[in-house]
């Protein structure tokens, strides 16, 4: 289903479109929330609020515009609100939470997180896994080969294809920075 079709269903108040939008954008929205809050439970809270708020504001959404950036804008606003809530001392006098991000990240940084997560989701599973093991887990190519049970050459070629494909998906970010 195209993003425009999904957006039209969303704007028309089709509850099923919320589920489809969740399947497509929950990962990027969660990335925005994690970037701002650095805490999975708070981030999950922010994701829930984002989709419910989006649903309640569905009639205000213009389906001619992309759904992703609209959800991103709601997500960032919600995440900042959650951050502010968590930074306040509780009514019962508890200390304010100290393990959320020190300050909400910049618009650019959270937007980049949304974009990178969206691009990673579009990769084939095998290529995305090589990127995860390389960049997030920090494995060498020989370690990845052992982990996945494939030859090192296969890891190298997958990594090359994955980075090439990722660069293609993020080409619009390149335009912004150039």
């Amino acid at each position: 289903m195209s993003d425009q079709d999904l957006g039209s269903r969303f704007a028309a108040g089709d509850p099923g479109a919320v589920r489809d939008a969740y399947d497509r954008y929950a990962g990027p929205v969660f990335s925005v929330a994690m970037s701002c809050l650095g805490d999975r439970e708070l981030a999950a809270d922010a994701v829930q609020q984002t989709f419910v708020k989006a649903w309640r504001a569905a009639a205000a959404y213009d389906p001619a515009r992309p759904l992703g950036p609209w959800l991103y804008a709601i997500a960032r606003r919600v995440a900042v609100d959650v951050w502010r809530r968590e930074r306040r001392p509780t009514q019962s006098g508890h200390d304010r939470e100290t393990d959320v991000a020190v300050t909400p990240l910049s618009f650019e940084r959270t937007w980049e997180a949304f974009q990178v997560r969206s691009a990673l989701q579009r990769l084939p599973d095998a290529e995305r896994e090589v990127l995860r093991l390389t960049h997030y887990v920090g494995m060498s190519q020989s370690e990845i080969a052992e982990e996945l049970g494939v030859p090192v050459g296969t890891v190298k070629s997958r990594a090359h294809r994955a980075h090439r494909r990722l660069a293609g998906h993020l080409g619009h970010l390149l335009e912004v920075t150039s």
Binding site: F30, A58, R117, V176
Partner: protein, 229 residues
């Protein structure tokens, strides 16, 4: 060599290729740094989608506003949404377990010839079971919500696993019974100790036989009581 090729090389090595003129190296560095950031790899917790859908499907005001293409509505205040984790450290599994212990009367019985005149909820198969469907007939009785689940097109649960039915509302999910369908597709009778109006979404998950009491993300059937019923 295109600019995207060089961008790919940068993403792979972290070294800006000679002659790469794609702008601010700091910004490109941030994009590459994100690849090692937990934020872009972490997944939302299992059950969050059901919780959101329960809030959406149990919110007739919002649904009506959308269906009628009403003028723009303001976003609801954050306080209107029950947080996924209302208290730090409270885990979903614990919440579900407590709710189950306190509220749910869980039973799995077969009651032949006992047909209620209750409300009906259509459940559709998900991508995990696209051929499956079910009708849940719900009737309020003295001891709780009596739910009869007529299932079709759903394969029996593989050995080492079972199906679990849940009702979901703004407060979370409550398990209402388990079954396996290995002996046929007789109607499955479930009992819930919570009001279906407050927990209007019904799901069925495939669960492994382990000690994890939280719902798996393998939802095979999903449906919701229509708003207002």
């Amino acid at each position: 060599v295109t600019r995207e090729d060089r961008f790919a090389e940068f993403l792979e090595t972290g070294v800006l290729p000679l002659g790469f003129d794609a702008g601010d190296p700091e910004e490109l560095g941030r994009v590459r740094d994100l690849l090692s950031d937990e934020a872009v790899w972490a997944d939302p917790p299992a059950g969050l989608a059901e919780r959101i859908m329960a809030g959406v499907e149990g919110d007739p005001g919002a649904s009506a506003a959308g269906a009628a293409a009403a003028p723009a509505v303001a976003a609801a205040p954050a306080s209107a949404v029950v947080p996924f984790a209302a208290r730090r450290g409270r885990r979903l599994a614990l919440a579900l377990g407590s709710a189950a212990a306190i509220l749910a009367v869980v039973a799995l019985l077969v009651l032949p010839g006992d047909e209620p005149q209750g409300r009906q909820v259509a459940l559709a198969g998900t991508d995990l079971a696209p051929e499956a469907s079910a009708t849940a007939t719900v009737e309020s009785r003295g001891s709780g919500e009596w739910i009869k689940l007529d299932v079709s097109g759903l394969e029996s649960a593989p050995p080492g696993s079972y199906y679990q039915a849940w009702v979901w509302g703004a407060r979370g999910g409550v398990p209402v019974g388990t079954f396996h369908l290995r002996g046929g597709t007789d109607p499955v009778i479930l009992w819930a100790g919570v009001a279906i109006e407050d927990y209007p979404t019904i799901t069925v998950t495939l669960e492994p036989e382990d000690d994890d009491q939280s719902p798996s993300d393998k939802v095979v059937l999903r449906g919701a009581l229509p708003p207002g019923e």
